[in-house]
């Protein structure tokens, strides 16, 4: 699949944003995070910015962005539509919490309810995003039982990373949280490797034989219907050289999981300024790593239509 930057940025940012919102809102509602107005402003602001920015960036790849509002209508069947609805609901709930927190310095009562709703809705939103991909049978790498857990885990992982960094910057003791972030990075790493492992074994049930209905033996493409790449090949026929992909996988693992794991662990142990620096660097590096991970998520995914082209 073509790794369109807007879609990559969207999924990474909104994943992190909703992860952050979920953790911050839940933390605030449960009183685990102080109702400090500046903290509320920064934490909720960052979460909302990432979530909204991601959504906006996703409209950048629409052919007719001015009609984007129509995308809310088909929540009965379409995960993309559900995602839109869930995202807006989440954002509304988050805005309610943020209003109480930032303007009134309150995260209790009705605001706590809004916080809990934000957390639940965030999870729902990330799930809908995941399901957009997980439901696509033509793309075996996505149509996998691991897609949903991966999206959720990566969302909470990046959200937790950001939260650790943020709270640390606000001078709070984040050693426990950093430990959680480190564990999440490790879990993410394990899961990502499991995904790659599974995908290597599940290239998809379809073959050029089943795609053409020609039974048995071997079918090879002789000539394409057109000499140049067309929409299908540009959109769904993206190919990444194996060597290149391996290198990128290493980079993704280092940035998204390994380095954050070490840095968050460090932050969990050392605390103080060093811990803060470690946490901030870890969170930023992790987001960068997730961009690479997401690039590969697209670039390595093979669509059945490429079978027809012998790719």
């Amino acid at each position: 699949m073509h790794p369109a930057f807007s879609v990559i940025a969207f999924t990474v940012c909104s994943g992190a944003g909703f992860g952050l919102l979920a953790l911050v809102s839940a933390g605030a509602a449960l009183g685990l995070i102080p109702a400090d107005r500046l903290l509320g402003f920064v934490a909720m602001g960052l979460g909302l910015a990432l979530a909204c920015g991601g959504l906006l960036s996703s409209t950048a790849h629409l052919g007719r962005p001015e009609r984007a509002w129509r995308a809310f209508s088909q929540w009965r069947s379409s995960w993309l539509s559900r995602e839109g609805v869930a995202a807006v609901a989440t954002i509304l709930a988050a805005v309610a919490l943020a209003a109480g927190w930032v303007f009134l310095g309150r995260t209790d009562g009705a605001f706590a309810a809004a916080g809990l709703a934000t957390a639940v809705l965030s999870v729902a939103t990330v799930s809908t995003t995941a399901m957009i991909y997980a439901s696509l049978k033509p793309i075996a790498a996505w149509h996998s039982p691991l897609t949903l857990p991966a999206y959720l885990l990566f969302s909470v992982m990046t959200g937790a990373g950001l939260l650790t960094a943020l709270l640390s910057v606000f001078g709070l003791d984040v050693r426990a949280l950093a430990a959680v972030a480190a564990v999440l990075a490790l879990a993410g790493w394990v899961l990502k490797r499991a995904v790659w492992h599974r995908n290597a074994d599940h290239p998809g049930v379809s073959t050029l034989n089943s795609a053409t209905g020609l039974k048995g033996g071997m079918v090879r493409s002789l000539e394409w219907p057109h000499t140049e790449e067309n929409y299908l090949l540009k959109e769904m026929g993206y190919r990444v050289a194996r060597k290149h992909a391996l290198k990128l996988r290493r980079i993704a693992q280092a940035l998204a999981f390994a380095l954050p794991l070490v840095l968050f662990a460090l932050a969990a142990v050392v605390g103080g300024v060093a811990g803060t620096v470690a946490a901030v660097v870890a969170a930023v590096v992790q987001l960068a790593g997730m961009l690479v991970e997401r690039w590969l998520f697209f670039a390595e995914a093979k669509h059945t239509v490429t079978l027809y082209y012998g790719r």
């Binding site: 090879r220 002789l222 000539e223 219907p225 057109h226 000499t227 140049e228």
Partner: protein
């Protein structure tokens, strides 16, 4: 004759090729009430105009839907006998051809050096004056200094006649580089030919053998036919080095080695003869199998037919035991047995034939390796042919009367059909190979019988047909030729030779180099003219032939020849006039360009005098008419030619007072008479338009054609449809229609006496003899029975240096060089690959997508490889004419046709390798002069990386002046929608 056209079926009766129950509209085709706002009944067009397609030479009927003055849609005409409603990939892309940005706009006069493509626009009056002045002078001094050669046109009866009126023998159309081997072999053998002049009996054949065809001129009829064969469960066998297209859907693909079909066919004949599985009855009735041949080695008439004092052919009557008139109906002809008649030792043709092909050198085992086919397969195919012809033979319950007046209650069917084209034709042994195929058909009794190969009127004609080529004297100033420049020789005395025995024509047609060059040698005109061999010309007048690119051999050399100068600085070919409709490669080499219209903007005439739209069940002809008005200052070429003729004062084109006889081509089509009552169109003749075939000109003829869908078609009575060579009713109809001079039976020439006459001349007999140096070549290649020899290039080079055969195939969706300017077609293919057998490539260390040099003895071309399984391992091939010269056809910089597409022609030499005497001939069949495109032998050399573009490359051609900008994006069709939405809103 009054033959009303058959009633057109009513609008509701399913008709047309695709009218199976699974191809019809829904039984209830009212739009359901879906409520989704889809407009299910938009108006398609304001008007439908029916004319004839010209995206290729197949002549299909089209319905041109016009909306708001723009072509909305082109569909096949269901009533048309050629395509019966279907349309090929090119035909449906006609819109993009009609609106091509490469259309020429105005006459052009060269301003820069020739070949640089620098022109200025001039007015038509100036262009016509320049041309007419030049032509007038040539005609008054030495008319043969005009060489008039036309390519893909369908007006050869006009252009040939024009040349004849002009007085130059130097005329031909494209047949010489195309398929004259097929035409000549057929016409000299059965009085008809493959090409589009005959067709398999698609509805009745049980077994179909297809030799060397990728597409052919009968594009849609063959496709419709193959669809029918497959639907009926007939067996389709393809003989072709490549397994694509028609050959891909064949039940059995025989991946023969190029140039060896003759051997394969002769091995089939060997098997059939050996087993006595030939149709003796048919041979006795319809062929010269029984005619006695003189056996008198050394005599001047050795090998000629035995004739009586009146010149009648003789045969031996096996009952009366004496020589009798071979063509009489009452005889009992002996097909075997040597006899002595009037002191001459003779044998019937059939015995000579049997002796020849029963020879073990024609046994399957002897030819198998060379052909690349297992001997068992050859034996099996022979057995299958016999089984289909004889065991599946049937009687069609249609009474008919033979030429001798004998009534037959049924027509015997032999359901074996064959078709062959350029895979046979484009080899230097193609004439004989094609004759061998006809021999095979005739031996099986399958020519013009139910289930077999069928003639399309005006064929069959006597074999060979008349007339002979005119212009023996080379043309006299201000004098028309005595006849048409192209014709059929019947012996050495008909050749066009000068006093010293050299060629009269610039292309050397009808000389010892190509005696039966019935279509001329278009591929040699530039090379010969540039060399001044046999003489210099003044003006080369080309029409619709891209000779500076895909229709030349040695293309780079040809470009040089077109621009070569003399010591005095003048061009070796002093003046070049060219008519094209588009900015092709050749435009750049003209001094004067006469821009033609597109096919939707002019009158054309698809005439029975030329290449009509006949069907085996009846003759037909058609027109094109201006269904669109040109939006440029262009004129139909035929009208321009008629205008030029009148300006030059050609007798047939001016009235007694010297004024133009015809207003334009339309006027000519209606009023010209070739012989009294016979004109370009056969339909609706006579003052009142009620006569067909023959009749006085009808001033309203074109209106009748337009009313009837642009064509005329006559259906024969059932009793006239088969056995046309000997069917009295048919022969009489053919005479009435002017197809043949006399209602006499047409006798298939298994043994060709015409060829033997040339051989005798080579042996030193007769008044006209070849020069000594040519005797051996003539002797060897003018065998009266089909022979096989190694194609010349291979014979000279052997297999060692150039082990691979390199051939081209026509893509079904491209027409030669025209297709690449078409915005739709070029998306499908804009780069051709070299297809190489997977195993062969492995041996050469070549993998998919590699770039290779394709090297021949003549030159080298670079292209990109695609590996395949379905090809003869000794053969590489590519799609024809996809590679383009940069700048041509208004393609932008970087267009893949110029960057990565390659033209194989650069590697093909126009000359054979030198023989022992150092003599080089044109790279052609020695009998007909047919260009031997497919004799090419090559080797492949893998290129290093960094060579990812085609070679050779040439300087980019500039764009002709004042051409409109080429669009970045095309939204063709948007306007129709806007218009519709507007209409809807208004409602």
């Amino acid at each position: 004759m009054n033959a009303p056209t058959p009633p057109v079926p009513g609008p509701h009766a399913p008709h047309g090729a695709n009218s199976a129950p699974t191809q019809r509209p829904l039984a209830d085709n009212r739009a359901p009430n879906e409520g989704d706002g889809v407009e299910t009944s938009p108006t398609v067009s304001d008007e439908v105009r029916k004319t004839t397609c010209y995206m290729c030479a197949c002549r299909c009927g089209i319905d041109v839907h016009i909306k708001d003055g723009v072509v909305r849609y082109i569909a096949g005409n269901r009533d048309h006998p050629v395509n019966r409603g279907v349309l090929c990939g090119k035909g449906s892309a006609g819109i993009m051809q009609h609106y091509s940005p490469s259309r020429l706009r105005k006459p052009l006069l060269r301003v820069g050096e020739r070949g640089k493509g620098e022109f200025k626009e001039i007015e038509w009056e100036e262009a016509l004056t320049i041309a007419a002045d030049r032509l007038r002078h040539i005609r008054a001094t030495d008319p043969k200094k005009l060489a008039f050669f036309t390519g893909r046109d369908q007006s050869q009866s006009l252009t040939g006649w024009w040349a004849s009126q002009f007085g130059t023998p130097n005329f031909s159309a494209h047949g010489g580089f195309c398929s004259v081997n097929m035409a000549a072999a057929g016409l000299y053998t059965i009085g008809g030919a493959f090409w589009e002049f005959g067709e398999p009996d698609w509805e009745r054949a049980r077994y179909f053998l297809l030799f060397g065809v990728a597409e052919d001129h009968d594009s849609n009829p063959i496709k419709i036919g193959i669809g029918r064969l497959k639907a009926r469960g007939a067996k389709v066998v393809s003989v072709n080095p490549c397994r694509t297209g028609y050959n891909a859907v064949a039940d059995e693909w025989l991946g023969i080695r190029p140039g060896t079909d003759g051997l394969f066919v002769m091995a089939l004949i060997h098997e059939l003869l050996k087993a006595g599985r030939v149709d003796l009855d048919y041979l006795a009735k319809f062929t010269n199998a029984h005619v006695l041949v003189i056996r008198d080695p050394g005599a001047a008439d050795d090998g000629l037919f035995l004739r009586d004092a009146d010149g009648k052919l003789l045969a031996f009557d096996s009952v009366e035991k004496r020589a009798v008139d071979a063509l009489s109906a009452e005889i009992h002809p002996a097909l075997v047995g040597e006899v002595t008649v009037n002191g001459r030792r003779c044998v019937p043709v059939f015995q000579l034939l049997a002796e020849r092909y029963l020879d073990p050198s024609y046994a399957p085992d002897a030819v198998a390796e060379r052909c690349g086919l297992p001997a068992d397969t050859i034996r099996r195919i022979a057995a299958e042919l016999a089984e289909a012809a004889f065991e599946q033979s049937f009687e069609l319950a249609v009474p008919w009367t033979d030429w001798a007046g004998r009534r037959h209650e049924t027509m015997r069917g032999r359901p074996v059909a064959m078709h062959a084209m350029r895979g046979i034709s484009a080899h230097s042994n193609g004439f004989h190979t094609c004759r061998a195929i006809h021999l095979l058909q005739v031996l099986l009794g399958t020519v013009d019988v139910p289930g077999g190969f069928r003639f399309k009127p005006p064929f069959p004609k006597p074999a060979p047909p008349g007339p002979k080529p005119a212009g023996k004297d080379g043309g006299k100033p201000n004098t028309p030729l005595a006849g048409m420049p192209l014709g059929f020789v019947t012996g050495p005395e008909d050749l066009l030779l000068d006093e010293s025995g050299g060629p009269v024509r610039i292309d050397k047609a009808y000389s010892w180099e190509a005696p039966i060059a019935a279509h001329g040698l278009m591929h040699m005109v530039i090379a010969n003219a540039a060399k001044g061999d046999p003489y210099r010309i003044d003006t080369l007048f080309l029409y619709m032939a891209n000779m500076a690119w895909n229709s030349s051999m040695n293309t780079a050399g040809t470009m040089d020849m077109l621009t070569a100068r003399d010591a005095d600085g003048g061009y070796k070919i002093p003046f070049i006039i060219y008519s094209d409709a588009y900015a092709s490669e050749t435009v750049a080499y003209a001094d004067l360009v006469l821009p033609d219209t597109t096919y939707l903007e002019r009158h054309d005439c698809i005439s029975l005098l030329d290449r009509p739209i006949s069907h085996a069940d009846g003759p037909g002809d058609a027109i094109r008419w201006p269904v669109m008005e040109p939006d440029r200052d262009v004129r139909p070429f035929q009208t321009v030619l008629i205008d030029l003729g009148a300006r030059v004062g050609l007798p047939g084109l001016v009235k007694e007072d010297g004024s133009p006889r015809y207003r334009d081509y339309a006027d000519y089509i209606v009023h010209h008479e070739r012989t009294p009552g016979i004109g370009p169109l056969a339909g609706w003749r006579g003052a009142d338009g009620t006569e067909h075939g023959r009749g006085a000109p009808n001033p309203e003829q074109l209106d009748r054609y337009i009313e009837h869908g642009g064509f005329w078609h006559h259906e024969f009575a059932p009793g006239e449809r088969y056995y046309k060579m000997a069917n009295r009713d048919y022969l009489e109809t053919a005479v009435r229609m002017g197809f043949i001079p006399k209602a006499e039976p047409i006798v298939f020439q298994l043994y060709s006496e015409v060829l033997q006459k040339f051989r005798l001349a080579a042996r030193g007999h007769g008044a006209v003899q070849p020069p000594d140096g040519e005797r051996a070549r003539i002797e060897a290649h003018f065998d009266p029975l089909p022979i096989w020899y190694v194609p010349f290039e291979e014979a000279a080079e052997g297999d060692a240096d150039y082990p691979l055969h390199a051939i081209t195939q026509r893509p079904m969706h491209m027409y030669h060089s025209w297709g690449s300017q078409n915005a739709w077609l070029r998306q499908i293919t804009n780069q051709n690959r070299l297809f190489v057998h997977r195993g062969t490539a492995t041996g050469l260390g070549i993998s998919d997508d590699d770039w290779v040099w394709i090297e021949s003895r003549h030159g080298r071309v670079r292209g990109q490889v695609k590996l395949v399984d379905g090809v003869n391992p000794n053969t590489v091939w590519t799609w024809n004419a996809i590679g383009k010269r940069k700048g041509a056809w208004r393609l932008k910089d970087g267009a893949p046709e110029g960057e990565r597409g390659f033209l194989l022609n650069h590697a093909i030499s126009e000359l054979t390798p030198p023989d022992a005497r150092g003599r080089r001939y044109s790279n052609s069949d020695p009998v007909t002069g047919q260009a031997a495109w497919f004799d090419l032998k090559v080797r492949l050399i893998r290129c290093t990386s960094g060579s990812e573009c085609a070679e050779p490359q040439f300087e980019k051609l500039p764009c002709p002046p004042n051409m409109p900008a080429v669009p970045e994006t095309s939204h063709f069709g948007e306007s129709f929608r806007k218009e519709r939405e507007h209409e809807e809103a208004g409602r």
